[in-house]
Symmetry: C2
Subunit: 239 residues, 2 copies
């Protein structure tokens, strides 16, 4: 048996009628974001239907949802592939990500209620724990949950939806480019998160905004450095 089979495949779980589609959707979504499914690789419906022990119909509906999220690309009458990460639009991605960091932080400072805080702190604690463990992939996921919680406290579902999509895309990019662990960065993120929380609790919109900008810049800079480190084989020409 393959070694991977030791860890129980969640696809094996039996689900009730009406949950089949979301079950497949959630699992595939995770595997795409975690790059277990390589960008550009084809997706075989028949294979999936065997793996999930379902007919192709619910599989296809899950794929339609993933396509709506932009995680997969459907080539009509041909095949569907895991969406590629588009380097040309990296600028647009960073721009949108930064803006969403800002507006969600601002709204959270304005609109949060006391009940929102525990969940946010819990995600931050999880994040800090992963930092101690030097578990980068756990950090990335916890970071996503932390910021989503803040966005939800801001109570603008349009922003939250876009932010989720961007953060997930960020997870894919980070997985793709992550190479070396730098002790300093994660600890700095922990501190920045703490600052963001306190500004939010104090309902200080402008400070929340400023911190969000700094945080976003930091993350963008990190991703950029990963990318350029990866491009070292084809260095930019310096004039």
């Amino acid at each position: 048996m393959a070694k991977a089979a030791q860890k129980q495949d969640p696809a094996a779980t039996v689900v009730k009628r009406g949950e089949g589609v979301s079950h497949v959707y959630e699992i595939l979504r995770n595997e795409i974001i975690e790059l277990k499914l390589v960008p550009g690789s084809p997706i075989d419906e028949t294979l999936l239907s065997e793996r999930f022990a379902m007919s192709r119909t619910p599989i296809r509906e899950a794929l339609v949802r993933l396509a709506a999220d932009g995680l997969i690309t459907t080539l009509t009458n041909r095949t569907t592939i895991v969406s590629n990460i588009d380097f040309l639009q990296m600028g647009a991605f960073f721009d949108a990500l930064t803006l969403m960091y800002r507006v969600t932080a601002r709204l959270a400072a304005s609109n949060h209620v006391a009940e929102d805080i525990p969940a946010i702190r819990a995600h931050q604690a999880t994040f800090a724990a992963f930092v101690e463990e030097r578990n980068v992939l756990g950090m990335i996921a916890a970071n996503r949950d932390f910021h989503v919680a803040i966005a939800e406290a801001g109570r603008n579902p349009y922003y939250t939806a876009l932010f989720k999509r961007l953060l997930d895309e960020g997870r894919r990019i980070l997985r793709l480019y992550y190479h070396s662990y730098d002790d300093n960065l994660p600890r700095q993120y922990v501190t920045e998160h703490e600052d963001i929380i306190s500004a939010m609790v104090a309902r200080d919109v402008e400070r929340s905004d400023a911190l969000a900008i700094a945080h976003a810049d930091q993350i963008v800079r990190q991703i950029r450095s990963y990318i350029s480190a990866d491009n070292r084989s084809s260095p930019r020409i310096q004039l």
Copy 2:
């Protein structure tokens, strides 16, 4: 025969293999936005499959796409209904709409190329023509296309996607609340559009931003006035 049958139902069109789903999707999407399908009303898959002369499978896949757009709501094992317009979140809607007006206008001023202009001007001309005809519903649709064209010139697909969704939601709200035709407003919009174009062509980011804010405020104010006019039966208590 019903009078509606005089206008050829686009559902009757025969489509090639692989286009069935998008065909259904487009038509239903339009009917939801144009409120031909009333918010809250149930959607019968069997009925649709008869109407489109297709099996339920492609119909269901189209419905999944609409659900991803937030245009319909699926109640598991029960039924799916046309999404209601959520008045409690009207503030969030206006906020996001204004922000997208702004960022797309800014980006268009920065990133547009000469080839983008003709399409934008064409949409503006269409809009102006509808104003002359006093065709409000046409105006609303043309206005949407105009701003989408600007967003596309800004070349940030994340913003464009959210903006489209917001503008479509706006079309639904306007259809719902539109009552009386005011001669002045539409002409003002035409002027504002012209200003937006010239600021964009001049690559004046800040002026584009300012105009976008003013334009958005104007539209938000208009929708708000429609809504409050509609609520006249239950007036707010003035203290």
